[in-house]
Amino acid sequence: MAGVTLNAVRKDYGTFLAIPELDLEIEDGEFCVFVGPSGCGKSTLLRTIAGLEDLTDGQILIGDQDVSDRHPGERGVAMVFQNYALYPHMNVRQNMGYALRLAREPKSTISQKVERAADILGLRDHLDRKPAELSGGQRQRVAIGRAIVRNPKVFLFDEPLSNLDAELRTRMRLELSELHQTLSTTMIYVTHDQVEAMTLADKIVVLRAGRIEQVGSPLELYDNPVNKFVAGFLGSPSMNFLPATMTANGLQFADLDGACVDFGTEPTPGKVVMVGIRPEHLEISEDGAPLPLRSVEQLGGVTYGYAILQSGEEFCVDLKGRRDIRAGDTIRLLIPPSRALVFDADTELRIR
């Protein structure tokens, strides 16, 4: 087991700069999730740690060893791929034991390690099957098993659940979480699904255009995002943003009938800001501003109402449980000042 340290890591593909310069510390035994939109460089970063992409500049340490120039097989990492990447002509046993066979481990040891991993993952009955004879979930387990038998210092996961259906994804997510508790090995996990990031991570690294936007625990990022991008990326449904202007009395919204709320921020009269509020933090009250709903989603336990504001922004409200509200109805909303976050409209940075 070991932590991972990235020192001034830089990666370019000719003229395209994928990762400008990045520093990151991942603690030993930590479950770290790289999250961000498509093309933000999260997979590139993971593949660079694995050694599948050459570093342009910088240093990668696993434990206290510099592995920057080492062959992927000699870094002590194991990786689980999005498309499983199982060898189709080998059965489960051979797939899981391939790395050990290459390392010239005795057959009895290989067999023992493969069977132990198969027991952990519930694959004991499938050891002699080929990947084509397995379901998506079983294939993903084999891919994880192949990583486990190598007893790596660091596990790397590249969007491992994105090919699975919703139900299986939820189950595998729990299994991965349990696996991390069992093995206590450092895990680095790449996803664009913020629900996976929130549920699995000890630490989330939010990336945009190869740069780290924020690093922290899931709730830290959820409650205290440093900028509008992080605030909007984490949370489902995502945070609402309303344009407002600073006045001496507080922030005056362009929408919501020009409501004015005092958020306690240092006023710079005339300054345009964006106010972020999560759908679940909005309050429905007779004293609130009117909002006509364009559509309503009944999900059983929760009801979401959607509206388009005059400013063109989409707005989502958690209607708290089951409500007899239909599309076209008007609700009255209050924005609790303690729950709202204010962002600079130009820099998108949080104003505290």
Binding site: R47, A50, G51, L52, H71, P72, G73, E74, V77, A78, M79, F81, Q82, N83, A85, L86, Y87, P88, H89, Y98, A99, L102, A103, R146, R150
Partner: protein, 277 residues
């Protein structure tokens, strides 16, 4: 239920006779070769077209072995065609893999250059190839028969097409498992090329087994001849023993036919996957 295309009655009335005509057109020379191989010298030289011999001369199939060292010719054909096919099985996937999965300067240019050789007829290359073989002192040797055909642009292209869809992650996974580049090729890539390898091996073997011009140009001694040029022994100054030549033709046909029967499944699969049908 799967959709099944059916032809109308009118279509059937003209499609089947047209198809039968073309099948007959292609099979007829072959059937005549069988007939010829069973004719006596008298029937052959009678000036008439004999379709079914009066008496089947199976002795022709024995005489041929006595009149020429046919066992040696067959051995030569098998050795040369087999070695070339084996070299293709080794080199074509290897080069195809490099073109499909590796990046290097000039890759595109080299691939286009390789493909362009498919456009050049063999006869255009024959003279420079002959001169090169002569300069290397390889005339009238097995090496001279084999070397120029040790790999082919078509085989490399076919292999590249087969290797391209293999996910890069599969190769990355093997690399992470600690496999060296040759290991990745032999352990991971090669086992997935079964149909393509069978196709290249079969096509190469059949093509080389039937090759006539190159052995005719390169080989001078009788014991180096393959069957194709060996048959020219029945081509004499004033007449050709067509019945014995036809027996030789049957000997050329049989191994290729048997091979096709064995590898047919792979061959069809490969043709479908590569889009070359």
């Amino acid at each position: 239920m799967a959709y099944k295309h059916t032809y109308s009655l009118t279509a059937k009335i003209w499609i089947y006779p047209v198809m039968a005509f073309f099948v007959l057109l292609s099979v007829l020379p072959f059937l005549y070769m069988i007939s010829l191989s069973l004719q006596s010298d008298a029937e052959m030289f009678s000036g008439q077209v004999v379709v079914i011999p009066e008496e089947l001369q199976f002795t022709n199939y024995v005489t041929i072995w006595e009149k020429a060292p046919f066992a040696r010719f067959i051995l030569n054909s098998f050795f040369v065609a087999g070695t070339i096919a084996a070299l293709h099985v080794l080199f074509d996937p290897l080069i195809g893999y490099v073109f499909a999965k590796m990046e290097f300067p000039g890759k595109r240019f080299m691939f286009v250059a390789l493909l362009s050789t498919l456009m050049i007829p063999f006869f255009v290359r024959l003279i420079p190839l002959y001169i090169m073989t002569a300069k290397f002192g390889l005339l009238n040797t097995y090496t001279g028969l084999i070397m120029p055909f040790a790999m082919s642009a078509f085989g490399i292209f076919l292999m590249r097409q087969f290797i391209l869809p293999i996910p890069d992650d599969l190769i990355a996974a093997a690399r992470l498992d600690g496999a060296s580049e040759p290991r990745i090729f032999f352990d991971i890539v090669l086992p997935q090329l079964g149909p393509a390898i069978a196709t290249v091996a079969l096509l190469t073997f059949v093509f080389q087994f039937n090759e006539f011009i190159w052995p005719l140009v390169v080989v001078s001694s009788e014991n180096m001849r393959p069957i194709t040029t060996g048959l020219t022994l029945f081509n004499q100054e004033f007449f050709t023993q067509w019945n014995l030549t036809a027996v030789g033709g049957m000997l050329l046909f049989l191994p290729c036919f048997l091979l096709y029967l064995i590898a047919q499944r792979h061959f069809v699969k490969s043709a479908m996957l590569s889009g070359m049908k």
